[in-house]
């Protein structure tokens, strides 16, 4: 990564370590952003390998490759890794790289906190995956096997893998909270003069809401897993009916965090989309104000819909009706976003480089996620969908087609700015098409499996589910292998490639495109003029 300063003389006397020391001690938002993104890419492959093992087992009926206990570990750790170690760090990497550049700030408001926030991640990732290794040596019986949702009392019963996961979640949570505090403070306090809140780029708005959601809900998750820890080891009975507690309390606390979490994963992407669409349509962003208010509305609504994750647990009819309607209400601000995205494209002069391909793919496939989410909200029909493969397909459309493909959009869009080189466009397009086709091949059959009655989190299944499972597995392997193209493209682009201008893309607009590609070590040495 070449961020070497072009003003060498001005840096006389400053401390610029090289090698490992540089990365361990850096407080530069660009370096830290790079570390978040690198960590995320590695963990994406780790989580991906886990689920390929799962899909290999599910290729045919019968148990061929692993015991059910191990299967249960793989599915839970896959989810924890993808959510906490791949998606969230990627979004945080984007925030670190781009927010200061976009708002004309010299760096994040709290640069040292920024460094700590990142360096908590590698130990947390090790904690999550260590139990697998320990089990190989006969210590403990493996990683957490309750699914990423940790439901009590199963999680109270579980072995030491649960304790490792609890600790990892605490550390990951603290890291996210540190990052969120930094982002809020930076956006409020470090904008260049003239950058009013209603001139703030939508990516920053998306992250602002995300950061508030994280601060409001992560502590509740931390509380829930702390209570789980004390139920497990210190004689409390929060989730044990025999002791006066209630297992469903855990579900309330977990999903109070868990539902906003999915919007935490998506809001940064929703903030990024208008930038990409406006750039490649060569038109101004449509409905800036509407999108800002939609972000805020979605953020607020996301906190009051959590029980739709456990309609079948049994709750009073008024509660069922309330949660159904409040959940459906989220479709309204979301529809505003879709409208504004398409209206941004409408009557533009579009070209379809890789970032735009991913953006359009995101809109279509995330649309499927949103629409299937709407029917899942229906309590009556949910009796059939809940905890079946229909839900698995729905949330993969939301989190892969929405979250991960959104991240890929951002990577292709900003990689030339970060590195100063253009990536390989042919390879990018190939990656896009392979990803989209194989993704659908993997998950469309899963909708039908759910409708046919296949529950989730089972290592083996009845014979009528065999065909769709086989197709899904084939799709998954193609999907996994295609991501190697992505990694290769990124790696080559870092090493070299055709040089790019400050304004990498013809239609790009914003302060970040006034800086060189790559930007200088000190991003904004001179104050930008905000239009």
């Amino acid at each position: 990564m070449n961020t070497a300063s072009t003003h060498a003389a001005e840096h006389h006397g400053e401390y610029h370590p090289g090698g490992l020391r540089r990365w361990l001690t850096t407080t530069n938002h660009k370096d830290i952003g790079t570390m978040y993104l690198t960590f995320s890419l590695i963990m994406f492959f780790v989580g991906g390998l886990m689920i390929l093992a799962v899909r290999a087992e599910l290729f045919q009926p019968g148990l061929q490759l692993m015991k059910p206990e191990f299967f249960n570990q793989l599915i839970g750790v896959h989810a924890l890794v993808m959510i906490f170690a791949a998606l969230m760090p990627a979004a945080t990497g984007f925030a670190n790289w781009m927010i200061p550049l976009m708002i004309g700030a010299p760096d994040m408001a709290l640069p040292r906190l920024n460094n700590w926030g990142f360096w908590l991640l590698p130990p947390a990732a090790i904690l999550l995956t260590l139990p697998f290794t320990l089990a190989l040596f006969g210590i403990g019986d493996g990683a957490i096997a309750t699914g990423w949702t940790f439901y009590a009392p199963l999680s109270v019963q579980g072995g030491m893998g649960v304790d490792f996961a609890i600790l990892a979640v605490h550390i990951l949570g603290i890291s996210s909270i540190m990052g969120s505090i930094n982002i809020i403070v930076t956006i409020f306090n470090m904008r260049a003069p003239g950058m009013t809140m209603m001139k703030l780029p939508l990516f920053a708005w998306g992250w602002l809401i995300t950061a508030f959601l994280l601060i409001a809900t992560l502590p509740v998750l931390a509380g829930a897993v702390t209570m789980l820890l004390t139920d497990r080891h210190f004689g409390t009975h929060f989730f044990d009916a025999a002791g006066g507690g209630d297992p469903i309390l855990f579900q309330h606390l977990f999903w109070f965090f868990g539902h906003p979490e999915v919007y935490i994963l998506l809001l940064p992407v929703w903030g990024l989309m208008p930038h990409v669409l406006a750039t490649f349509s060569r038109k101004p962003t449509y409905g800036y104000t509407a999108q800002v208010y939609s972000f805020i509305a979605i953020g607020i609504l996301s906190v009051v819909v959590w029980a739709h994750h456990f309609f079948t647990a049994g709750m009073p009819v008024p509660a069922l009706i309330y949660f159904m309607f409040s959940t459906m209400a989220i479709s309204l601000p979301l529809a505003v976003l879709f409208f504004c995205w398409i209206a941004t494209m409408w009557k533009g002069a579009m070209t379809f480089e890789t970032p735009m391909l991913f953006a359009v793919g995101f809109i279509v496939l995330f649309g499927i996620a949103g629409l299937t989410g709407l029917i899942l909200a229906d309590v009556a029909a949910d009796a059939q969908y809940h905890h079946s493969y229909f839900v698995v397909a729905h949330f993969h459309y939301a989190l892969f087609a929405g979250g991960i493909m959104g991240v890929m959009t951002g990577v292709y869009y900003w990689l030339p700015k970060w590195t100063g080189h253009m990536y390989n466009e042919t390879l990018g397009k190939l990656h896009f098409w392979l990803t989209v086709v194989s993704f659908n091949l993997t998950f469309i059959p899963q909708f039908f499996l759910g409708l046919a009655g296949m529950p989730r989190r089972i290592p083996d299944y009845a014979l009528q589910f065999a065909e769709f499972n086989a197709i899904s597995t084939v799709g998954a392997f193609i999907l996994g292998l295609s991501q190697l193209l992505f990694a290769w493209n990124i790696w080559s682009c870092i090493r070299g490639g055709p040089k790019v201008e400050n304004r990498v893309w013809e239609g790009a607009d914003g302060l970040e495109w006034e800086l060189s590609s790559p930007p200088p070590h000190h991003s904004w040495d001179t104050q930008p003029q905000v239009k």
Partner: protein, 401 residues
């Protein structure tokens, strides 16, 4: 039975045809599937009013969201074709609605969605929910379902009938050592029997962790939560055999605890119930007589294999640390009862009858009879290399309750 699947995916997708075609070619060799099964695109046939209502709602909603999808993305694709730089289209400069007409176009979709959500979808949904939750009106009988790791216990409280229903698929089929049967993983030793045409109030609970009772053709899915009672209801309209599964991750054999319900005309149901009551009386009577060592060992072996082997393994070696070994176990080789004939805390009898809190070892006193408990305890103490030589009578177990 080895049948070729109907549809080869290779023809539908022209990406990487070699890989897909190869996979499809493997299919006949590898899928022992009954012909005709496999490509279903909707819920299975509904046999209760709830299931029919749910299917109707689902179909309606699928139509609505498919229409929304097609309309919205037709507009977007149109734009992608016509508003391209390469055909010379000049970009406009608008960034919001200008003028009344544009405001109309912007707000109309919002209004339509509002209507769809809260009227078109919402109102039928509310009706359905109220029907679904109405468990008590005109219920004809009660079925109590208890989830356990990893089996279901069914109870007909009014008749005093209680039994456990376990997966009947042989482990060899799961391990791919035998061809899989038609109802692989969806067959049990003792199915639930219910009368057709009667409203059954289903009460659910669990002895250990959360399980979920789900029979797709009934349209019913309800959590079984330890320490709490949940309810739902079914009114089966058509005789038949209906199969479902546990739908909440509950440990290692979550995928291996199916639900099988035989719905039969009422006279047949009543006859079956009588037979069950007679069996229960016989089993209870068994506790009053003295059992020989051989009788206890034989019965104990059967109980062990059905109830205990899943965790403690057929050879008694267990899967430590979660499932301790019984072979050479301190507890199994410890005292049976104290001097007064009472159970010693944390002893073998105590453990089997009352379980161990905070672990998967549940209290089998609620699900096994006196005979079964006495037999399995005797069996364990004299198998797997254990040679305690003692035994315990059903009557002694009965006195400990």
């Amino acid at each position: 039975m080895v049948i070729v699947p109907r549809d080869s995916s290779a023809s539908r997708h022209n990406r990487r045809p070699t890989l897909l075609r190869r996979a499809a070619c493997l299919a006949p060799a590898v899928f022992p599937v009954a012909a005709g099964a496999g490509y279903s695109f909707n819920f299975p046939e509904p046999v209760t009013p709830i299931a029919r209502e749910t299917l109707h709602i689902h179909n309606e909603f699928m139509l609505i969201i498919t229409t929304l999808f097609v309309v919205v993305f037709a507009i977007m694709i149109y734009s992608m074709i016509r508003h391209r730089k390469s055909i010379g289209h000049q970009p406009s400069k608008f960034s919001g609605p200008t003028g009344a007409l544009q405001w109309f176009w912007a707000l109309i979709p919002f209004a339509i969605l509002l209507f769809i959500d809260f009227v078109l979808m919402g109102i039928p949904a509310v009706q359905a929910i109220i029907n679904m939750e109405d468990t008590k009106t005109k219920a004809d009988l009660v079925l109590k379902v208890t989830g356990m790791q990893w089996k279901w216990q069914y109870e007909y409280p009014e008749a005093g009938v209680k039994f456990i229903s376990t997966l009947a698929t042989p482990r060899d089929q799961i391990a791919n050592a035998e061809t899989k049967g038609e109802h692989y993983l969806l067959e049990v030793d003792k199915p639930v029997v219910l009368p057709v045409g009667k409203k059954v109030r289903v009460l659910l609970t669990s002895t250990d962790v959360i399980h979920t009772w789900w029979v797709p053709q009934f349209g019913v899915k309800r959590d079984a939560i330890p320490g709490f009672l949940r309810e739902t209801w079914v009114l089966i309209e058509k005789p038949g055999i209906y199969r479902g599964q546990c739908a909440e991750l509950c440990g290692k054999d979550h995928g291996f605890m199916p639900v099988v319900v035989h719905a039969v005309p009422e006279p047949e149901y009543l006859a079956w119930l009588e037979a069950q009551k007679a069996e229960a009386r016989a089993a209870a009577g068994g506790a009053d007589r003295s059992w020989s060592r051989d009788e206890l060992m034989a019965e104990g072996k059967a109980v062990y294999e059905k109830v205990c082997a899943a965790c403690h393994q057929p050879d008694g070696k267990g899967l430590p640390p979660a499932f301790p070994a019984l072979a050479g176990s301190q507890i199994v080789n410890g005292p049976l009862l104290d001097m007064n004939g009472k159970a010693v805390k944390d002893s073998h009898v105590d453990r089997v009858m009352h379980g161990k809190a905070g672990t998967a070892m549940q209290a089998f006193a609620t699900s096994l009879s006196d005979v079964e408990l006495a037999a399995v305890i005797t069996y364990e103490r004299n198998s797997f290399g254990n040679q305690k030589g003692d035994m315990i009578q059903p009557a002694q177990i009965k006195s400990l309750r």
